[in-house]
């Protein structure tokens, strides 16, 4: 009986989590147009641009270097096997497809989730603790529109851009390896890359990065808003935000990739 109760309790908590996530998501979606330039409020757009710098631009070095390293690692690991079959050229395909479909979006999302999910939940959590969220409500300003929506927009815009750039970094690392190991020229390498990648791989990459962006900013905001009590609760919320967003990013990646595979989109031609 107690075991049953425990299971039920856990299930209720999870369902409440999911419900809270959905409700918050809907209310943000409704407010998102207010943040857009021209049609929305000018000051919201400005704060969205600030968020883009914080979430996107300053994550570029880290995401880029992580992709560069991973690209090199991937090339090294695959080369040692492929060399035995005399198929070293296939390193190009492996790196290009691997990065476009999978590693580019994933590594970018993981680095942004580590940097920004924690930063977002810490910022919003602090606003809850210092009553700034209450102050906004009492002033008649909607905290969703004022603090959440600019972050969502910033993440949705910057994460695809970051993903493209870090994918390029990863593919470039593959070039570095092949240039050193078999004197491949830039032109030939990138021609091979262009042949290997299909338009739907790029589309899949962009869709993935949009989903990851939503997960990261969403979990960060929700964990921040849930902070109750003192400053130490902010610390717990940042940890929870990083853990949950990382986990959900990988889960979503699995689901997306599985759909891509079983729909038969992943086979060449």
């Amino acid at each position: 009986m107690t075991f049953l109760e425990q299971v039920g309790q856990a299930a209720i908590v999870q369902v409440e989590d999911a419900g809270a996530l959905t409700l918050q998501f809907l209310s943000v979606l409704r407010k998102l147009p207010r943040v857009l330039p021209i049609v929305g409020a000018r000051r919201r757009w400005r704060s969205a641009v600030e968020q883009m710098l914080a979430i996107g631009a300053s994550a570029l070095p880290m995401a880029g270097i992580m992709s560069l390293c991973t690209g090199f690692i991937l090339a090294l690991q695959s080369a040692s096997e492929l060399r035995r079959f005399g198929a070293l050229e296939f390193v190009v395909d492996l790196v290009a497809i691997g990065f476009t479909r999978e590693l580019g979006p994933l590594i970018t999302a993981l680095s942004v989730s580590g940097r920004s999910a924690s930063a977002i939940s810490a910022e919003i959590g602090t606003m809850v603790v210092t009553e700034e969220i209450d102050a906004l409500r009492v002033m008649g300003l909607d905290p969703v529109e004022f603090t959440l929506a600019p972050k969502y927009l910033a993440a949705l815009i910057t994460l695809p851009c970051l993903t493209v750039l870090s994918t390029l970094c990863g593919i470039f690392a593959g070039y570095l390896f092949l240039a050193f190991s078999m004197d491949m020229s830039v032109r030939i390498y990138f021609q091979a890359v262009a042949e290997a990648i299909l338009l739907r791989d790029v589309a899949f990459m962009l869709v993935k990065s949009l989903v990851f962006a939503t997960i990261i900013v969403h979990v960060g905001c929700l964990e921040g808003l849930r902070v109750r009590g003192g400053p130490e609760a902010v610390g717990h919320s940042t940890t929870a935000a990083v853990v949950k967003s990382t986990f959900l990013v990988i889960l979503a990646d699995l689901v997306g990739t599985a759909i891509f595979y079983f729909m038969g989109w992943s086979s060449l031609g």
């Binding site: 000051r43 009553e131 700034e132 209450d134 002033m139 008649g140 300003l141």
Partner: protein, 276 residues
């Protein structure tokens, strides 16, 4: 409860009727009745955990009571529509306990925020209004500073300036003098009296600082364990014989001094053992 009926029948701006509220089994507010009359300063006293912060949250419409009603300027905020609540809130200025200034905005921008967001005034008008509010609270020099650069007293003043930005009819101050030294705290008391004199606004102050309370109050209310045990003009309030009020006013601990210290240390040790 002995009330001065003259004030009681006066024009109530905030009228709290039979408000109760519980967290689980714990009763935080127990049938609270309270009127705040136009143009007065009402000080709500109470120890830690007496329910005064909870009552304040209800008055601001941030929480809904289990039973009872809260009427502000004729609108029952416990059951009105969000737009009506918004209209009521625009007539209330609030200075929160932790000041709740936005750290990414300078003091000027903090004060200007409600004006920019909620009115269609020209920028030059807003600048002028912000400057006037900052002069009123004595912060005209500090307008370009950011909240983390301010001292505790300046932060509280800036919060009052922001609360005053939309020229509210009602000003609500949560623990204005908590954590301030006596001189700064006295300055803040004078500021509150000045605001009442010059703008005729209704002010509700929540505090546990006795000296400041009796300096500024017209009437004093006291909450104890979620019940309102007294509401009275301050001259009568100091003569109230309720044992808890006597204890509060005379600063007596719950147990005789020596025993209280031992109990405190014992509970502290228990607490730290629980943490580990």
């Amino acid at each position: 409860m002995t009330n001065s009926s003259a004030v009681e029948t006066g024009d109530a701006v905030i009228s709290i009727r039979g408000v109760s509220m519980s967290y689980g089994a714990r009763r935080v507010l127990d049938r609270v009745d309270l009127d705040v009359c136009r143009g007065e300063i009402l000080v709500l006293l109470g120890g830690s955990g007496s329910g005064k912060s909870t009552l304040l949250k209800h008055v601001l419409g941030l929480a809904k009571p289990d039973t009872g009603s809260i009427t502000i300027d004729g609108v029952d905020i416990t059951c009105c529509s969000p737009s009506e609540l918004g209209a009521v809130r625009r007539r209330i200025g609030v200075a929160f306990q932790a000041a709740a200034l936005f750290n990414s905005l300078s003091v000027e921008e903090n004060v200007a925020l409600p004006l920019r967001e909620l009115t269609r005034l020209a920028d030059s008008t807003i600048e002028l209004m912000v400057w006037m509010k900052l002069i009123a609270v004595g912060l005209s020099e500090a307008g370009s500073l950011y909240p983390p650069e301010l001292s505790g007293g300046m932060r509280k003043r800036a919060a009052v300036a922001r609360a005053m930005a939309l020229d509210p009819e009602i000003l609500i101050l949560d623990e204005p003098s908590a954590g301030l030294d006596p001189i700064v705290s006295a300055g803040l008391d004078e500021l509150i009296l000045f605001l009442k004199r010059s703008f005729g606004i209704t002010i509700l102050v929540v505090t546990h600082e006795l000296e400041s309370a009796f300096r500024i109050a017209d009437r004093v209310a006291m909450l104890y364990q979620g019940r309102l045990i007294a509401v009275d003009r301050k001259e009568q309030f100091v003569r109230n014989a309720h044992p808890r009020i006597r204890q509060f006013l005379d600063r007596q601990p719950d147990a005789p001094p020596g025993v209280a210290a031992e109990e405190f240390i014992a509970s502290y040790l228990r607490g730290s053992k629980d943490d580990n």
